[in-house]
C-alpha cells in the first residue's frame, strides 16, 4: 500500500457505499484516525530485537513522531504488543496471558525472524516456538535479525494503515 498515493482519485468505477453515507463513514475515519495515532506499545522485549526497539524509541529514530511514544509496562494500558525477540515454549503461556489481559482493540507486531518462524533457532532446537502466531494472532510481521529501527517504523505505519480500514459502524463491503 503506497502511502504517497493516498490522495489520487479512485481509478475504478465508484459504486455507492453499502450503507451509512457521509456521516457514519466520517465517524469511522475519525475514530480510526484517533486510535491509529495513539498506539501505546507494551514494554515487552525478550532478546536482541528489544535493543533495536529501544533504538527506535530513542532520539535518532524516534517513534514518538507516529504516536508510539508512551510504552506502558502493564498490558492493561497497552494497545499494542511488539513481540521483540524469540518466544520459547516456557514463555508462550506468559505471552498468551499478557495478550489476553490487554484491553480491546489490541494489535500485535511480530518483530524479527525469531517471531515469524523461529529464525536462526529453527533447526535442532527443542525449546523454541517456531513463530509467534502459534500463540497469538499477529497483525504485522517484520523480517530481519534484528530488523533495523526504520523497519520497525515502517511496520508501525503499515499497522496504522491497516487500522484505518477498520469498520466500527458501516458494514464491511466484503462479507468477512
Amino acid at each position: 500500500m503506497d502511502v504517497s498515493k493516498m490522495g489520487d482519485p479512485f481509478p475504478g468505477t465508484v459504486d455507492p457505499t453499502a450503507d451509512g453515507g457521509i456521516l457514519v463513514t466520517k465517524l469511522d475515519d475519525a475514530i480510526n484516525w484517533a486510535r491509529a495515532n495513539s498506539l501505546w506499545p507494551l514494554v515487552f522485549g525478550t532478546s536482541c530485537c528489544a535493543i533495536e526497539m529501544m533504538s527506535a524509541a530513542s532520539a535518532k529514530h524516534d517513534w514518538s513522531r507516529f504516536g508510539f511514544e508512551v510504552a506502558r509496562a502493564t498490558p492493561r494500558q497497552a494497545d499494542l504488543i511488539i513481540v521483540a525477540g524469540t518466544i520459547v515454549m516456557k514463555m508462550a503461556p506468559v505471552l498468551k496471558r499478557l495478550y489476553d489481559q490487554m484491553a480491546e482493540p489490541k494489535y500485535v507486531i511480530a518483530m524479527g525472524a525469531c517471531t515469524i518462524s523461529g529464525g536462526p533457532f529453527f533447526y535442532n532446537t527443542y525449546s523454541v516456538v517456531k513463530g509467534v502466531d502459534h500463540v497469538i494472532p499477529v497483525d504485522v510481521y517484520i523480517p530481519g535479525c534484528p530488523p533495523r529501527p526504520e523497519a520497525l517504523l515502517h511496520a508501525m505505519i503499515t499497522l496504522q494503515e491497516k487500522m484505518k480500514q477498520e469498520h466500527i459502524f458501516r458494514k464491511p463491503l466484503i462479507k468477512a
Partner: protein
C-alpha cells in the same frame, strides 16, 4: 608454581589421577567417586588455593559421561581442569561441590536439567531452564524430540 610441581602436589593428594598431555591446561582425569575429597583439598590447601570455579559442565561420550571442572587460583594464577568420569549411564550421579563454591549451585542445576546427572548433597536440585515435567534430557546424545527439526 609451574606445571610439574603442581602435578606432583596433586598426585600426592590423589594418586589415582591420570594426567593427559597436550591440552591447553593441566588435565587431570579421575573417577567420579573420589571427587569431593580431592576438591576439598584443592580448594583449602594454601599452596594450591583453587578458590575460583570457572566452569562446571558435562560431556556425553555415549559410553560414559565426563564432568569437567575448570578451576583457577586467583592468588597463584594457575589453572587446572579436572575430568571426573561417570560410567553409569542410566543413573549418572556424582557428589556436589556446592559446599565448596557457591557458583556450583546454578551450574549443577543446569547440568541436572540438560543431562540428568544427579548431585548428592545439592541443596535444591531442580530443573533450572526447562519445565519440571519436560520429557528426557536434551543435551544427551540419545535425546529424541518429535518437534525438533533436524537440519
Amino acid at each position: 608454581m609451574e606445571a610439574e610441581a603442581l602435578k606432583q602436589e596433586i598426585l600426592s593428594i590423589e594418586p589415582s589421577m591420570v594426567f593427559e598431555e597436550g591440552g591447553q591446561f593441566i588435565n587431570g582425569g579421575i573417577e567420579s567417586t573420589v571427587l569431593s575429597a580431592l576438591m576439598k583439598e584443592l580448594r583449602d590447601r594454601p599452596t594450591l588455593a583453587f578458590d575460583y570455579l570457572v566452569c562446571l559442565t558435562c560431556v556425553d561420550y555415549k559410553t560414559h559421561f565426563t564432568m569437567f571442572y575448570q578451576l583457577r587460583s586467583l592468588t597463584h594464577r594457575h589453572e587446572l581442569v579436572i575430568k571426573a568420569k561417570i560410567s553409569n549411564i542410566e543413573h549418572p550421579a556424582i557428589d556436589s561441590v556446592t559446599s565448596l563454591w557457591r557458583t556450583a549451585d546454578f551450574h549443577e542445576r543446569e547440568v541436572f536439567d540438560l543431562f540428568g546427572v544427579k548431585f548428592y548433597g545439592h541443596p535444591d536440585l531442580r530443573r533450572i531452564f526447562l519445565d519440571e515435567n519436560w520429557p528426557g534430557f536434551p543435551l544427551r546424545k540419545n535425546y529424541e524430540d518429535a518437534n525438533m527439526i533436524e537440519l
